[in-house]
């Protein structure tokens, strides 16, 4: 059995964000890049599934990680290998960059198909663009059964189907059965991602990481990368701060607390 995990490298949400001079994106010259949080949960879930198979005396499934992005993405893939993935595929070709979820989904679907994965896991939504669409696009193109916002996964003993818990609104869950091959978009909170060990980090350097390009994937140049994106971003702005609200800033903690209490007394909410 082979499990594929698609991960995206995103700016650390705790880093300071500056709007680029073009006004169409963020300035990426001085950012800290990390694996998007749900994608780390997807990788952890794949590791847990592999360990569970091993524990019940089965052969350990092979874990292949995929990521689309420029050269810096290799760092994210090495981290995934350090955490326990077996192999990595980097969709690094210039012709594949600059796309949206539709373009990226097409390229990733081709890469996943080429590796014949029985199960594909991704995060539910990226921490940067957050369209929550790439996994659905991959599933659609491959014709795989699909579930978004997955909070629990169990593989049946015959490895033919999955029992999956999917999150609904307002604290409810839905329990589903999907036949393999399938694609699951994993929601945060399903598990607590592990940290890489020193040994894992050392081993990761020797694990296979291969590059994949547009020709090798046999995808149409007009449907991937910037050319294949369905929309363009015209401008990026900060949301209006303190829209109508009273801001208390640049005073001591004591003064801030006193001022707030005075306001809340006037509002009769204390």
């Amino acid at each position: 059995m082979r499990i594929g995990v698609c991960i995206k490298q995103v700016p650390d949400t705790d880093s300071q964000l500056r709007i680029a001079d073009s006004g169409r994106g963020i300035d990426d010259s001085d950012l800290n890049w990390v694996i998007s949080s749900c994608d780390l949960c997807a990788l952890e879930e794949a590791l847990l599934l592999a360990e569970a198979e091993l524990a019940r005396g089965e052969e350990r499934p092979e874990l292949v990680v995929f990521s689309l992005g420029p050269a810096r993405v290799e760092e994210a893939l090495r981290k995934a290998l350090a955490l326990g993935a077996d192999r990595a595929v980097h969709l690094a070709d210039e012709a594949l960059q600059g796309g949206d979820a539709l373009a990226d989904g097409r390229a990733l679907a081709a890469a996943v198909a080429k590796e014949h994965c029985d199960l594909v896991l991704t995060g539910a939504q990226s921490d940067d663009i957050g369209q929550a669409a790439t996994p659905a696009v991959i599933a659609e193109i491959l014709g795989f059964p699909y579930a978004w916002l997955v909070m629990a996964v169990e593989l049946d003993s015959g490895k033919r189907s999955l029992r999956v818990v999917r999150e609904l609104e307002a604290g409810m869950n839905e329990v589903l059965r999907l036949d393999l091959p399938a694609l699951l978009a994993i929601q945060s909170g399903i598990n607590k991602p592990r940290f890489a060990s020193l040994r894992g980090t050392l081993q990761a350097r020797k694990k296979p990481l291969r590059h994949e390009d547009r020709r090798g994937l046999e995808v149409d140049a007009a449907r991937v990368g910037a050319a294949g994106a369905g929309f363009e971003t015209e401008s990026v702005t900060l949301p209006p701060a303190g829209a109508g609200g009273v801001m208390i800033e640049g005073v001591s903690a004591e003064t801030a607390a006193e001022e707030l209490i005075a306001h809340l007394e006037r509002e009769a909410v204390l």
């Binding site: 539709l102 579930a147 999150e167 609104e169 604290g171 409810m172 903690a253 006193e258 509002e267």
Partner: protein, 299 residues
């Protein structure tokens, strides 16, 4: 242009459609006509309806709007693939210019920035953020409503089976009925630091809420979670400590009467809904607030 579901978000979808003008057709999807929900089935039913009904001017934009619920946001990207359309998720504003070019606004980077985006294709599938486009008149302009029928080749689309439904977490916390709520966000910093929120909650006689990462990290149990996947609350006073103000969190609390936010980042999106904002380290301000409130009570 357009299309929509029946349940939550119907108002938003209609309001967004109206913001774009043009001819609106409203499509109702219900289990009675379509059978139990499955992503492929609903995507296919809408694809058939939209391709068949699209006899209009091929130059005019075709905009398909769905509510950004956990159901339609699951299959909307698949519909976009089937229609060879652009896909734009969770839009909070929509405009159309004289040349007929459609533009949408959506949040990116966990609501820290917002982007104006323009589809590069004639057909665009967009999901509409719940709670955006507020204050519309439900009685305004009755749009033509079509019920979406079951596609003929149905077996192909039943790609998953529903085994049941269950509650995600235990009860025991009365957030929905609370008069006052103090919420701990990821900014509190760790499970040991949640006490700074808990102590303030006691001093205010408030219930304790949590943002999703606080729950995901195990700092507080799931029943404390406020937001689209937790409790929807509307207390008299909502005090958020170290909460950035993501769309999913705001969906759970933006109806509160008085919202107070304490955050060290002056650009945190929570400040755009806060009635009172303190830009400061919560670990400096919250303990002082607790002490002053306790003193006020005992005097």
């Amino acid at each position: 242009m357009e299309g929509a579901g029946g349940g939550p978000g119907t108002q938003e979808v209609r309001a967004c459609g109206r913001a774009l003008g043009g001819n609106c057709r409203v499509a109702l999807l219900d289990e009675e006509h379509l059978g139990p929900y499955a992503p492929g089935l609903y995507a296919e039913a809408l694809r058939a309806l939209i391709t068949d009904g699209d006899g209009e001017d091929p130059a005019a934009p075709l905009v398909v709007l769905l509510p950004h619920t956990y159901q339609s946001a699951e299959y909307a990207p698949r519909l976009a693939v089937r229609l060879d359309a652009a896909y734009i998720a969770s839009v909070s504003a929509a405009t159309i210019d004289d040349a007929g070019r459609v533009r949408f606004r959506r949040s990116i980077l966990q609501a820290r920035l917002r982007a104006e985006v323009r589809p590069r294709k004639r057909t665009v599938v967009a999901t509409v953020q719940i709670g955006a486009f507020g204050g519309t008149d439900p009685a305004a302009s009755p749009d033509a409503v079509v019920k979406v029928g079951r596609p003929a080749d149905i077996e192909e689309h039943e790609e998953r089976e529903v085994l049941g439904r269950e509650a995600a977490g235990g009860g025991g916390v009365d957030l929905a009925g609370a008069e006052r709520i103090v919420t701990a966000g990821r900014g509190v910093g760790g499970s040991d630091e949640v006490s700074v929120a808990a102590e303030l909650a006691v001093a205010l006689d408030a219930e304790l809420g949590a943002s999703r990462p606080v729950v995901d990290n195990g700092w507080l149990p799931r029943e404390h979670q406020v937001g689209s996947s937790g409790h929807i609350v509307a207390p008299n006073l909502y005090l958020a400590l170290g909460v950035s103000g993501s769309i999913q969190h705001l969906m759970g609390m933006s109806g509160s009467r008085i919202i107070v936010a304490i955050n060290k980042d002056p650009e945190a999106p929570i400040f755009s809904v806060a009635h009172y904002g303190i830009v400061a380290d919560l670990h400096e301000v919250a303990p002082v607030l607790t002490r002053l409130l306790e003193a006020r009570r005992s005097s």
